[in-house]
């Protein structure tokens, strides 16, 4: 192979960069458009609100990325978020201890994740069905424990987790940023992250290269469960109660944010920058529509249209 006749290098390098940047380009353009076209969008207050609004999706998306990269997905996250909030609330009220509540919720999420992982990785049940089943069970559990009603939380110190700010940014936003950073680091820099991508790219080849496919998946689902539970705890702190019916359809939101960003549904392809782009694009669209006070019915149309527009633009950009 001979290196092809180089196009004018800077132009070419820019084109390459655009290609690699993928949806980040769309994100930047969208952000610019909203800054110009939407009043109040660029205000610090709104940006704070926007960051807070996407924080939960962001947290869970950072582990969902691993799930998708390994070629699976997890539909139970919405239910785990809700149930973890309920568990935290109930345990806190009974023991009076914030730590015990948080620990119980995290333990619960981890256990659900372990079950998911076990069923998907060891028993090799299709992830759609497996996590759909646990989603139902966990949601039912949340309703049963709470008797269908929100569980108010007594220890007020707990509300600090979701409602205080640090250096001007709300704590949940910091947590999300940490999840992004940590997730990106793990995916790119650790053996575990690379193994995840290999497992998603070709499980058979990964297995023959000595990667324990089942162990990788088990770990991912467990982390996913724990992360969803953690998000549920943060949410409960923000809501000052555990809500059994919250976050319906959250799983689809998280997965589509990832896929919108460019994570492959069939595994093997993904990076944290994709997730950040996907999550923020979704968040900005919603935020801008609210600021523009668009009729809710038209919001559906606009949301769909922008989603489609974003992927089409990305496609066109790469085809150029």
């Amino acid at each position: 192979m001979s290196p092809s006749a180089p196009a004018s290098p800077p132009a070419r390098r820019f084109a390459d960069f655009l290609d690699r940047a993928g949806m980040l380009v769309v994100l930047v353009l969208l952000f610019a458009a909203c800054s110009l076209g939407v009043e109040n969008f660029l205000s610090w207050r709104n940006l704070q609100g926007l960051a807070l609004a996407v924080s939960m999706t962001g947290m869970v998306a950072s582990t969902m990325l691993f799930c998708l990269a390994a070629g699976d997905f997890d539909l139970s996250v919405g239910a785990v978020v809700a149930a973890a909030g309920v568990v935290a609330a109930v345990v806190m009220n009974q023991t009076g201890s914030i730590a015990a509540g948080v620990a119980a919720a995290l333990g619960f999420g981890t256990a659900v994740g372990l079950v998911n992982g076990w069923v998907v990785a060891r028993l090799q049940i299709n992830a759609l069905i497996a996590t759909l089943a646990t989603m139902q069970i966990v949601r039912g559990f949340a309703y049963i424990v709470s008797d269908g009603k929100a569980v108010g939380i007594a220890p007020e110190g707990f509300f600090a987790l979701g409602n205080s700010a640090f250096l001007g940014l709300p704590v949940p936003v910091w947590i999300t940023l940490a999840c992004f950073a940590l997730g990106g680091l793990i995916l790119n820099r650790t053996v575990f992250g690379r193994d995840t991508l290999a497992v998603g790219g070709n499980p058979e080849a990964a297995h023959l290269a000595g990667i324990s496919v089942a162990r990788v998946k088990l770990l991912i689902f467990t982390a996913q469960g724990a992360m969803a539970a953690f998000a549920g705890v943060v949410l409960a702190s923000r809501m000052t109660s555990g809500q059994p019916g919250t976050s319906l359809g959250f799983e689809l939101e998280v997965i589509s944010a990832c896929v919108l960003g460019g994570v492959s549904l069939t595994g093997g392809v993904g990076s944290m920058s994709y997730v950040v782009a996907g999550v923020l694009i979704m968040g900005i669209v919603q935020n801008a529509m609210n600021l523009k006070n668009i009729e809710p019915f038209w919001q559906y149309v606009a949301r769909g249209g922008i989603l489609l527009g974003a992927v089409l633009f990305d496609r066109w950009k790469r085809r150029r």
Partner: protein, 319 residues
């Protein structure tokens, strides 16, 4: 166009112009659409900007409040997706410096008691349910159905606390009116739309083939309509069942049908009072410093095939 800022004469809000948010839990529901419509009317009449947001769960409510603050609103009216979100919403509103008025559902505090310190306009879910139960009981007595051949079909959706309150209220009223508790059958809906209710009701009817007369209540019009369709599917004669819904907006098509169905009527909630008056109260509060009363109650009105056109016209829902 999609933009519906109903700003007063000037399009761009002057500094000091009043902006009011109106957050509802189910923006797609006709009931909330109507509330918004009347709130819009108030905005036009009084000259303020109304910002409408849907907030189907707790997280979205908080995000929407952030949004309102960013958008320069001074206060908002809210129907929360869960009454226990009260403390969180109050805290958030305080942090953002927004005035707050709860509509439809009253906030519940951490102690499980209604948060009486939060301004509220609405109707008690349990009471509206009781009104349904009383209407059914009255029909039951008027038609002189034998108790032994009659049963209650209660469409439930316990996942929503307010929905449960309503059906519980209806059931309590029916029991109080002398229907034995063991003749009250609950059909839990899997989804809140008509097909979900239809499926639940159909199976319940299968379980009780011996019942001749049915009294139907539920959490809203859609649930009750699903039950009515199920009764029709089971070929129960129209006159052998009485169904009463709640909210009076989803059932208009049913009441307009040329041939009567088992759908007797619905407890119409006053969207005008809830939409227009809350918006107006909030405006006065912001503009003139007139604090609204802490607790304002409205009443439901039964609409039936006979009176619904007139009542709807009176309520301004229809012209």
């Amino acid at each position: 166009g999609p933009k519906t800022e109903t700003a007063a004469p000037a399009a761009a809000p002057k500094p000091g112009a009043v902006r009011i948010g109106f957050l509802v839990k189910q923006p797609e529901e006709p009931w909330f659409q109507l509330e918004w419509k009347f709130a819009d009317q108030a905005a036009k009449d009084l000259g303020f900007t109304l910002i409408k947001n849907g907030a189907p769960d707790g997280e979205k409510v908080l995000a929407a409040i952030d949004n309102l603050a960013a958008n320069g609103a001074q206060g908002f009216v809210v129907c929360a997706p869960d009454t226990r979100l009260g403390p969180a919403i109050v805290a958030k509103a305080k942090a953002a410096g927004l005035k707050l008025l709860a509509v439809d559902d009253q906030f519940i505090g951490p102690d499980g008691q209604p948060m009486a310190q939060v301004h509220y306009l609405g109707i008690s879910a349990r009471k509206i349910g009781a009104a349904v139960g009383e209407t059914l009981a009255a029909e039951f007595k008027r038609r002189q159905w034998p108790v032994a051949e009659t049963a209650v079909l209660a469409m439930t959706y316990d996942e929503l606390a307010t929905a449960k309150e309503r059906t519980d209220g209806a059931i309590e009223a029916l029991v109080a009116a002398g229907i034995p508790a063991d003749r009250i059958h609950k059909a839990p809906q899997r989804t809140t739309d008509i097909p979900g209710a239809l499926e639940a009701a159909t199976t319940l009817l299968t379980r009780h083939p011996g019942v001749k007369y049915w009294l139907v209540c539920g959490n809203n019009d859609n649930g009750v309509l699903g039950a009515v369709r199920a009764l029709e599917g089971r070929r129960i004669p129209v006159e052998n069942a009485v169904a009463v819904g709640i909210n009076g907006t989803d059932c208009i098509a049913e009441l307009e049908k040329a041939k009567p169905t088992s759908f007797h009527g619905s407890m119409l909630l006053s969207a005008k009072a809830h939409g227009y008056r809350t918006a107006e109260m909030m405006y006065r509060w912001i503009k003139d410093g007139v604090e609204p009363p802490l607790d304002t109650r409205t009443v439901g009105v039964l609409i039936t095939r006979e009176n619904f056109r007139q009542v709807l016209r009176e309520q301004g829902v229809r012209d």
